[in-house]
Symmetry: C2
Subunit: 199 residues, 2 copies
């Protein structure tokens, strides 16, 4: 490499990010030089802050800068329903739809014995504690429809049996507007199985 040390360092840092290889890192580092001074300052500060300021919500495990996240604090939301998701970014996806007004619970992963991830590694105990202590009526399991997701859903539903709480799972099926030709057969058989009467 013939770039000055600072640029080489920056290229190395960009390369640490997922999906960014040598060429892209080089292009990003060179483009960084053209950014405004204020943007660079904000970029640099945000990087330092992200390790220190960002914490996990002490109720739902969502990302937050305070002890409790904005969603858990929001009195206007429905505090009877908890939607269980894998990662904090899933919350953003659900929030963007505007279709859900309850609370969330972030597991921080899915049960995957092959990868050495057991139920104890996930944030499941805190969920059970919430259901025991708060007046929760429904738990919606909104996990991926993979083997890991299904295993985790099953595990949680077993754990929550006899707690007097309704356990539901989001629907899996054909996405809207999707061309039937390109849908895998497992999804189609799931969609057939979960068919509902129209009249």
């Amino acid at each position: 490499m013939m770039y000055p040390k600072t640029i080489c360092n920056l290229i190395e840092c960009y390369k640490k990010l997922p999906g960014i290889g040598e060429k892209t890192a080089e292009r990003l580092a060179l483009a960084t030089m053209d950014l405004d001074d204020e943007v660079i300052a904000m970029f640099s500060n945000s990087l330092l802050d992200i390790k220190t300021k960002i914490k996990r919500c002490n109720i739902c495990n969502n990302l937050t800068e305070e002890d409790t996240c904005l969603i858990c604090k929001d009195k206007t939301r429905n505090h009877d329903v908890i939607c269980v998701v894998e990662e904090p970014k899933n919350i953003i996806t659900f929030e963007k739809t505007g279709a859900f007004n309850g609370l969330y619970h972030v597991l921080d992963g899915l049960i995957s014995p092959l990868d050495g991830i057991n139920p104890d590694d996930l944030n499941i105990d805190a969920l059970i504690k919430r259901i025991d202590e708060e007046n929760i009526k429904e738990v919606i399991l909104a996990l991926k429809s993979s083997i890991e997701g299904e295993t985790t859903s099953l595990y949680i539903s077993k754990k929550l049996e006899n707690k007097g709480v309704i356990i539901t799972k989001i629907a899996h099926g054909i996405p809207l507007g999707a061309d039937m030709d390109y849908i895998d057969s497992l999804t189609i058989s799931m969609a057939l199985e979960d068919r509902k009467p129209l009249t």
Copy 2:
């Protein structure tokens, strides 16, 4: 957006980089949180340094942290030949081949009247000064084969007429291993025109 302020700021910064949209910026910002503390510190420092430490070489206009770049300082290189390139990153591309041992000159752009870039906006005067003052035998024009590149090559070759220096241009033609079916006709006609005898 429902992310904490720091993450939102970081997403905004990533979005300022070329080719990075909302989704990718979000993914990068979340991935940044998983980086090691040392990487984050180096990232943050490199960003600040890039505006202050990185300068242009006072001879060839290459990126450097000192007054003169490592290539211009290198006594083992051939100081008789200057390769004229558009951007500093072109130097890296040429250096990677290991096929050139001379000096470089970075123009910082190409003549493009439509974009308001005139010869005066480029680093051409410094090139002429180098040829007047130093003992340069050959100037290799290694610019893009676009209208702007050709215009710039023509302009420089006119300017260097009668300076007792050989002016050459890198060859344009069919790239090695390329399928002839996918080469545009202009490249093929250029390759035909520049054909050379084999015996």
